[in-house]
Symmetry: C2
């Protein structure tokens, strides 16, 4: 090929052609770049950021400043259940697994336990659930509100943290009306992530760690870990406390609870001193492969989204299975169906062991009741009851966590495996006690094959509970709302 | 900036500079490429490929044609134990876990069971292990040779497959002298992968699948799956058979064995009809995350290696933990220590559940013996013995597989979890039988805390076994070798 300068020397128009082509191409690239820049600046100039007070609980007020984030947040109202174990409709877990009613006899969860829903439903759900009681029966402390509302930090700031927990759940109904939202995680001045719940800060402080020492990426875990953790209500004041002082594992926390001789309730059938686990999502997640790779909650549950020229964090917090392309595919290359199938393969194994353990535990409680009924002594029952306590704790540590164990399948299976051993060991002890007291083994089992049958067996008067709840929702809740409306000006019915 | 042609028009030397720079750069690129091509062609021209017969068992003869592959293969002699659970020295598993002696009472594995070593040790190891017996005691059939030597396809071709299995292990000692090697997996004419062991072909044929339908990548699994699978010795002719007809999982194979009422042996203590699992590596691997991504055995255990200008498959088959940089790092980006730590994290959980199950099973066998000793009837024991059979099968399905469960941690943990349940259920049944026969529970346990104590407890005369083995190794084996040397001309002492 001849050198280009020779060609141009001979035919000058070739040089001019090259020159003008370049000019035209660069012009269009400029136009394109300008179009992007213009859209972004429009987004910025149209957005007039209104200053927010330190504790503004109303998500819709924050939403005026951050319309995209608010709009996506509002989508958490409509929980779209893509997961196999969630199904396509809202699940009543007590209908699905009637063993749970037996396992929780004597405790609120036997009354009602449903699939978790999106954050914006938090106030509606906590008011409606039978566990929080009605107008007359008021079984729960104010501590139950802690993770349900943006009003909590405000009331804590006004009244003090210990004081917040001390009163009855019912008594704060008028103060707490806005569902989980913006200010639970954000500083209103800088929009930086911030921890608003003292229990997390206190748990780390007991380990000599300050929140300010954590990186931004760790904060993307910790704002979620304010609530998505195991906790308990400590002492008479029901002070919200994380049982982390010996470590994060099911085994460590079990040791912690044993040492302080804590139990959430005494089981109505077996009389075992029980522990209730509360979604230890953070603790379980931290043992898994995604945590090993420094993935944070938001990476999968709040991936980036683009609308027009604007890229922002999708605040429609949901199962990544609803949004595989934007969540999983940032790191994984595969097709959507296969990706989802791989999650199910892991969850299937966990659900299999969970199911085995649920059956064993329900049977163990009933066998223990039969032993008591036939004159077993405290001393004879001691070993079995301790095994039941530990076994159900380990079951619950996995079962209460969101994601059907997917946050760390190996750890979930390990913990379930140890739980299965303890449940069967308990049943061996009980079999020996029963035989000793002249009861032939296996005992005849009651029919507790549906939620209704199981609830009747453990002596729950569901009609009374529902009637009392109805009174609360019809008579009291409207008063709470009107007091709130007076206080804060507006109140959205999410 | 001015157009280049204007500059060149004014200063012609600029054009020449550009021209000669290009020439010089292209010249050096050419030199570099030539250097690569030259080295590869040297490798090819120096290599005079000698035609091999259809069944050449001597690896060193193949090695003359393929020196790099052979040289790396020979490194399997020196098994470098990098894994945490392998330790840095050769492990005697019965010393490490004396429970195994109890669990295998009445079966060869209670005599001796060591950590697996590299392929080139296969002949040496099978001759030396107490399980294959001595000069006088000859407990095993010829089927045991099947996966140990390149002589096997030759003898099968000469004598017939069923005939191969039929005789005693001892009687083929002179025929089978070359360790696992080249022709077990390669066609000597094309060097393509080929299946030389009939059991795999037959198992797929029963499922309507032909080996020729599998892809090359699948063949990279299947040449290993000739041996690294679960199998059993069927019928009086000890015909090597894979129990795959109902599926690959521990549960499917258990059902298969139950249906044909098969057991490997009757337990010497518990009298349970036992199953012995044989390293179901392929089956376990296929349930794991690496199989989901179409990774084959060779990708991790035989990654590519470069020497000089030649890239070839490393035939030093070993733990990828010895070779993280060349195996794991092809897909994973991390540092070596963290990579290894992530493997250990998974293996730790599996070893924890395995350990729990081993203790339970050993205790169950001893409790069952005590029940028999105290007059228990077949009917009373039936349920417990079936549970022991299933539990130990599930334990072994994980424990016998190589890699401490890492080939599929989730499935390993699931299977162990179900095994734990069955072991504890067996112990409940046994406790009831014991109490019924007037034995107080828990029973007093014998001291079986070391290999020697456990072997004495189950009644093994280790001195006699060792003396008989010594006779075999001193008197018989040299004769086997000299007959082999006569037959094949040369014999390397690996």
């Amino acid at each position: 090929m001849r050198p280009i300068q020779d060609i141009i020397k001979e035919k000058p128009w070739v040089g001019w052609l090259l020159f003008f082509s370049t000019v035209v191409i660069v012009f269009f690239i400029g136009l394109f770049a300008s179009s992007i820049v213009e859209r972004r600046s429009e987004a910025l100039t149209l957005q007039t950021v209104k200053p927010l007070p330190e504790w503004e609980p109303r998500n819709e007020v924050w939403g005026e400043n951050y319309p995209r984030e608010y709009e996506t947040y509002r989508k958490t109202l409509d929980t779209n259940f893509a997961s196999k174990y969630a199904g396509s409709v809202f699940r009543d877990y007590l209908e699905d697994y009637p063993e749970l009613v037996i396992m929780w006899a004597g405790y609120g969860f036997a009354k009602e336990y449903n699939q978790a829903r999106g954050h914006a439903n938090a106030i509606k759900d906590i008011r409606e659930i039978l566990r929080t009681g009605g107008k007359d029966d008021r079984p729960m402390p104010s501590t139950c509100w802690t993770c349900k509302s943006t009003d909590v930090p405000r009331v804590m700031a006004e009244e003090g943290v210990a004081e917040f927990y001390k009163v009855n759940w019912y008594d704060r109904g008028h103060q707490i009306v806005n569902p989980i939202g913006c200010q639970d995680c954000h500083d209103p001045k800088t929009m930086n992530l911030r921890i608003t719940r003292p229990a997390l800060i206190e748990a780390f402080e007991r380990q000599g760690k300050k929140i300010s020492d954590f990186s931004h990426n760790e904060m993307r875990l910790l704002v979620c870990a304010q609530c998505h953790v195991e906790y308990y209500f400590k002492g008479e004041g029901n002070y919200l406390t994380f049982p982390w002082d010996k470590g994060f594992s099911a085994d460590d926390m079990e040791e912690y609870f044993d040492e302080i001789n804590f139990s959430d309730w005494t089981h109505a059938l077996s009389k075992a001193p029980m522990l209730k686990a509360q979604h230890p999502d953070y603790e379980l997640f931290m043992t898994g492969t995604h945590a090993e790779k420094d993935v944070s909650c938001a990476d999968c549950h709040m991936p980036y989204k683009t609308e027009g020229g604007v890229k922002f964090t999708d605040h429609h917090i949901q199962s990544p299975l609803n949004n595989v392309e934007n969540s999983c595919f940032v790191c994984h290359r595969d097709n959507t169906d296969k990706m989802i199938q791989m999650v199910y393969t892991r969850q299937d194994k966990i659900m299999e062991l969970r199911g085995l353990l649920e059956e064993s535990l329900a049977a163990a409680h009933i066998e223990a009741k039969t032993a008591w009924d036939n004159g077993a002594s405290d001393k004879e029952m001691e070993k079995a009851l301790q095994l039941i306590r530990h076994s159900q704790w380990r079951w619950d540590w996995v079962a209460a966590a969101n994601g059907a164990g997917f946050h760390s399948p190996n750890e979930a299976l390990r913990v379930l495996g140890t739980g299965i051993q303890k449940a069967e060991q308990a049943r061996k002890e009980l079999a020996l006690v029963l035989v000793k007291h002249g009861v032939s083994y296996p005992i005849a089992m009651p029919d507790v094959s549906t939620k209704a049958k199981a609830q009747a067996y453990i002596g729950l008067d569901m009609e009374a509970l529902e009637a009392d709840k109805e009174k609360l929702l019809k008579n009291t809740v409207p008063k709470w709302d009107s007091l709130a409306r007076e206080r804060q000006g507006t109140l959205i019915d999410y």
